[in-house]
């Protein structure tokens, strides 16, 4: 692409050369690490690798065992519950907070900082603090009981039926602030005239949000969704720090199953099979959507 006076069509490969050179790190990451690493994982999920990866193929054995394992089933169920609730609650809470923040309020900076600061803390810290607050011996429950309501029971982390909601409380605490920020940013990007038009037309505020503003914020919601969803699939540290998967196996999640079987049980094959199942699920949901969303569109 230099200033040389050539009249022929340049070689396909040389067109946009700087851009291609600049994108080499991205291409390498995409192909070698993400694609290559994934392929490697999938291939080795058909082996009986233990501590070290070894190409000793055993067909679908690892997968059969995986789907026979009660812990894996519980993990999948937990991820589904945690994922669905996180998506719904962080979007709803995030949006409500963002909408409130968008009302020309006083102390906006203070409120925003308060909502956002947990995001600066790691999941390990988040898990620890909430483990503590939710501990019935000296957390919320004991405080309420000390106030006189002695039959009060609030021990989500020690009740297998609701433990995943205890994790959810902590997860939302950490992540909603970012969602609020993203959506607030989206709200600020909406043309002022839209609000004027809606007011002139006498549309109630909640209806304006629901039917006009939210559909207009589709791109922001998509970015937000990518960030939340990728966090949900990877949830691991939070559970480890807060419950270690307990009580029993009641709060296990897939990423923890993968990690425990890879490194604690030293059964790489099993861990890889589990991660392959995770990847397949993600791929089925994400790939078609991602390609429609990010690919194929031409800029003129």
């Amino acid at each position: 692409m230099t200033g040389q006076a050539h009249t022929g069509r340049p070689r396909r490969l040389l067109r946009n050369l700087s851009s291609k050179i600049a994108s080499i790190p991205m291409m390498l990451t995409a192909v070698v690490i993400f694609l290559g690493g994934t392929t490697w994982t999938v291939v080795y999920s058909f082996t009986n690798s233990k501590l070290l990866p070894r190409a000793n193929f055993v067909g679908l054995d690892q997968y059969e065992r995986l789907w026979d394992a009660p812990r894996w089933i519980v993990s999948i169920q937990n991820l589904a519950i945690y994922g669905a609730l996180t998506l719904v609650f962080s979007l709803v809470m995030g949006f409500v907070l963002a909408a409130l923040m968008d009302q020309k309020i006083r102390f906006e900076n203070t409120f925003r900082t308060i909502f956002l600061y947990p995001f600066a803390l790691s999941f390990i810290v988040t898990g620890l603090v909430w483990q503590w607050i939710l501990n019935p011996e000296f957390g919320v429950q004991s405080v309420v009981r000390a106030l006189g309501w002695t039959s009060f029971t609030f021990d989500p982390l020690y009740n297998a039926d609701i433990v995943i909601y205890g994790v959810l409380i902590a997860g939302l605490w950490q992540g909603t602030g970012l969602v609020m920020c993203l959506l607030l940013a989206g709200l600020r990007g909406i043309d002022e005239d839209i609000w004027k038009a809606a007011r002139v037309d006498g549309i109630p505020m909640w209806k304006t949000y629901l039917f006009i503003i939210i559909p207009m914020m589709r791109p922001v919601f998509i970015t937000t969704l990518v960030i939340i969803a990728s966090g949900i699939v990877k949830v691991y540290d939070l559970v480890v720090a807060q419950t270690s998967g307990g009580p029993g196996i009641a709060s296990e999640v897939p990423a923890k199953y993968v990690y425990d079987y890879m490194f604690q049980a030293q059964n790489l094959g099993q861990g890889f099979a589990a991660s392959t199942m995770m990847l397949v699920t993600v791929a089925i949901i994400i790939v078609p959507w991602a390609y429609l969303e990010f690919g194929g569109r031409k800029r003129v």
Partner: protein, 409 residues
């Protein structure tokens, strides 16, 4: 005695070491107070040889430290030495040629003779070659009881498991959790193994875990163990803690009647200033069947290109097993030394009970040695679920247990 031992250690290793003084990075997951103090004894002894111990401590055994160690090894950036669970877990690293053959050092220092029980060295042996240096013996089979708790409940301190079960209602009435079991999975699985040896005996234990006999695992002896586990589950309700030492703390403070935990728990009692026999009672083999397991910790030495560091590795290996180091280390760690020829005069009552049983040869191998990490993990998953979920029947659990044994390698 300490001075003597140190001097002895110095004379053993100094001559060969002085010429090869070098830094050696040692990774391990002993990070708490008592553990760190114990490691410091190793470091002190190693530094005394003129080399330098570079400490690479990472808290959190299996989940955190292991992937780091394995990554360093496979990534071609090995440390000088590393703690690892010996037995089945390191086999593959040995087979991959990543770990160093210590047979020369072992022969020179006559490990075969001095290491007791011999099963410890067997766990380090692959194809007749020795790959690790065992440093201590930990036994699991202890029931720790709080004398104060039983006093509060108005019942005598039990002398065995059955009495303990019988005393449970009284404890509960007094608002005391009879049996503290921490939430982490390994604690439930460990407690079950202890119940198994105590109730079904050594033979059943070996048939199930050593021979992987699924029929025995599904049989009537094991059914009794599962019944006992159900008792334990009922007695453990109300233990709202995760870590084992928090559970131990419940016993120490009299909030719980007892805990099934390994010998490392007595470190906690000692730290809290409690005296065995007066403040707390320890029942090896749950007071039913006085057998202890001989698991423990070991150090492995990766293959290094640097010749001087390789020499230093040999010095470290022999330092770890030197009598003086063994005494100093194990007293701090609360574990038993791997050699029978050292004097543990400073040991407390419970430790002495353990030493007696060890001397009698009433030992079994630890489950870490007998089962692969994979089977161990499956077992943990099962018992952690069993202990947390009262609706799971002992029969169901036994069925799943037998299936795990059947598929174990």
């Amino acid at each position: 005695m300490r001075f003597m031992a140190a001097a002895l250690a110095a004379t053993v290793v100094l001559p060969s070491a002085a010429a090869y003084a070098t830094d050696l990075e040692v990774t391990h997951w002993w990070t708490s107070g008592g553990e760190a103090a114990a490691v410091a004894e190793f470091a002190k002894a190693f530094d005394a040889t003129g080399n330098k111990w570079i400490d690479g401590a990472i808290a959190g055994a299996g989940s955190t430290a292991r992937p780091i160690m394995v990554s360093r090894l496979t990534g071609g950036d090995p440390m000088g030495a590393t703690q690892f669970n010996h037995g089945r877990q390191a086999e593959e690293l040995v087979e991959a040629g990543l770990l160093r053959d210590l047979t020369d050092v072992a022969t020179r220092e006559n490990w075969k003779e001095i290491i007791k029980p011999a099963s410890l060295l067997d766990s380090c042996t692959v194809d007749g070659k020795i790959y690790c240096a065992p440093v201590n013996i930990h036994s699991w089979q202890w029931l720790w009881l709080s004398n104060a708790a039983f006093e509060t409940a108005g019942v005598p301190v039990p002398k065995n498991w059955d009495e303990f079960v019988a005393a449970a209602p009284a404890l509960e009435k007094a608002g005391i959790v009879p049996l503290a079991v921490g939430g982490q999975a390994w604690q439930a699985a460990g407690a079950f193994d202890v119940l198994m040896v105590a109730i079904a005996g050594k033979d059943t234990f070996n048939k199930v875990f050593k021979d992987k006999d699924a029929d025995v695992a599904a049989g009537p002896d094991m059914a009794r163990v599962f019944k006992a586990a159900e008792d334990a589950r009922r007695m453990s309700r109300g233990t709202n803690v995760q870590d084992w030492n928090q559970a131990t703390n419940m016993v120490i403070t009299g909030k719980a009647g007892g805990q099934i935990m390994g010998d490392w728990a007595q470190g906690e009692f000692a730290l809290a200033g409690k005296v065995a026999g007066k403040d707390y009672t320890c029942l090896p083999g749950l007071g039913v069947n006085e057998v202890i397991s001989t698991g423990g910790d070991a150090f492995y030495f990766p293959v290094l290109a640097d010749e001087e560091k390789s020499k230093a590795q040999e010095v470290l290996a022999s330092t770890l097993l030197a009598p003086a180091t063994q005494v100093a280390f194990n007293l701090k760690k609360g574990s038993l030394p791997v050699r029978g020829d050292v004097d543990l005069a400073a040991a407390n009552d419970c430790m002495k009970k353990g030493l007696d049983i060890l001397a009698k040869g009433n030992v079994i191998e630890g489950t870490d040695q007998l089962l692969s990490a994979d089977s161990q993990k499956q077992k943990e998953d099962l018992f952690s679920e069993f202990f947390a979920n009262p609706s799971m029947t002992p029969e169901d659990a036994q069925k799943r247990f037998a299936a795990i044994i059947a598929s174990a390698d």
